[in-house]
Subunit: 260 residues, 2 copies
């Protein structure tokens, strides 16, 4: 298989110059991203076919699988099981548990929420343009961070009833789970926390299904600009700087002009 | 394809009880993990074959690919390109750029370093037992966090010479990159930072190759206990609590006994 790639010779020089221009300036990240798209995006070939799926079915399978497979692989199961039946082909040989290592933010390290690794993998396998797959991943990180979750209500509850929802403010497992634990008063090793992550996984799988269904219909358009984070903060980052930096958030120009 | 799965009925009750017992106690996480293994691990089938690879070749391909594909996909390229030639089969249809969305800690969000998503994906695709894939991912997170990197020296430098190495203390992109930027005085949008991440990607790909080659020889044994983080801190986490919490690190019992 050959990937169709555009020359990216100008990318770094563009970014480097842009970084200098942007130093210390609050920028419209959409402008940054629209220019960025032209120099770094490229198409690629994939044989993993997508057919439109029922978000409710994907959510249910994901939820049910969580209790044996945890976050990343449960989202994989939510897509791979129906895609094996409805799209076939390469999905028949894709091992659902290939992404299980990502549970708990990578084997429990609390970094990127495993549901997003599962969802991102499905997105990357079926879409065939980097700006589309990254646009969906970016929108999904916004959804995860800025939506009160979990809102998914299973028709058949597996562990326990649950009412507490929280705003994660970040796609990072440790903070997302920690905020929910603080709000609910429930420990990590409780049935409630497991139920929470199972429902959250269903939410993420369903939101991903909506995006992929739109894409299949030719209607997907990313809601948020790519690399807004680098443009705004001069480093890979989120919108929750004060969570860790408190009152000492390094200014963006620190990162764009350091000894250059 | 059917996954061989053991019943995990007792897993949550085991974890729940263990959590109560461990509350406030400094525990030998190896004990925790050795028990954990028996109740949550299961085998799974995969058709992605692994043949032993030359770490230098994997590192070189990864390094060279970084400048067009960024972190996650460059590690994928380091493995998929030689495996297509030497193992064939399903690798021929695996799109290298399926994981590109993970660059910069998920489309620039700075969460889990993309090199680890790429490496984890390869590990998960070829190993066929969850405790092996998670054991490798866990060891790799330790290697990433506790090793001065990048130490990789390309035979043919692509962007610029580079001397600065740093200890990330975490698998999180933002902190890993930020520490290096602070130490080097170089901005995110500099050639030096790109060169740093390219060499780091090569290091991670090479370490992964060593582990997979050992596994292929039947000699892989995880160095670190699984879920040490949950056992030690009562939540998915790392060993860098003070990085964000400063002097106010919540005690582990907060997380294991909250209103239970």
């Amino acid at each position: 298989m050959q990937e169709k790639q555009e020359d990216d010779v100008s990318r770094r020089s563009f970014l480097s110059n842009t970084g200098k221009i942007l130093a210390g300036v609050a920028v419209a990240s959409s402008v940054f991203a629209s220019q960025e798209k032209n120099v770094s995006a490229y198409g690629y070939e994939t044989g993993f076919k997508y057919v439109k799926l029922d978000p409710e079915e994907v959510g249910r399978i994901t939820y049910e699988n969580y209790f044996k497979r945890w976050c990343a692989s449960s989202v994989m199961a939510g897509f791979v099981e129906p895609l094996r039946a409805k799209a076939g082909g390469l999905w028949k040989d894709f091992p659902i548990d290939a992404m299980r290592w990502a549970h708990g933010g990578m084997a429990g390290w609390g970094a990127l929420c495993g549901t997003l690794v599962g969802a991102g993998t499905v997105i990357g396998l079926v879409t065939n343009e980097t700006d589309v797959s990254e646009g969906m991943a970016n929108d999904l990180a916004f959804y995860y961070s800025n939506t009160e979750l979990p809102s998914y209500q299973p028709k058949k509850i597996i562990k326990t009833k649950l009412e507490q929802m929280t705003l994660a403010t970040t796609p990072v497992c440790h903070i997302s789970v920690g905020r929910w634990m603080r709000a609910s008063g429930k420990a990590f090793l409780s049935d409630e926390r497991a139920e929470r992550c199972a429902r959250l996984a269903a939410n993420i799988a369903m939101e991903t299904t909506h995006m992929l269904n739109n894409w299949k219909d030719g209607k997907f358009k990313a809601k948020h600009a790519l690399l807004f984070n680098v443009a705004a903060n001069g480093i890979t980052s989120q919108n929750n700087c004060a969570d860790c930096h408190g009152h000492s958030v390094p200014p963006a120009e620190t990162y764009t002009t350091l000894k250059e």
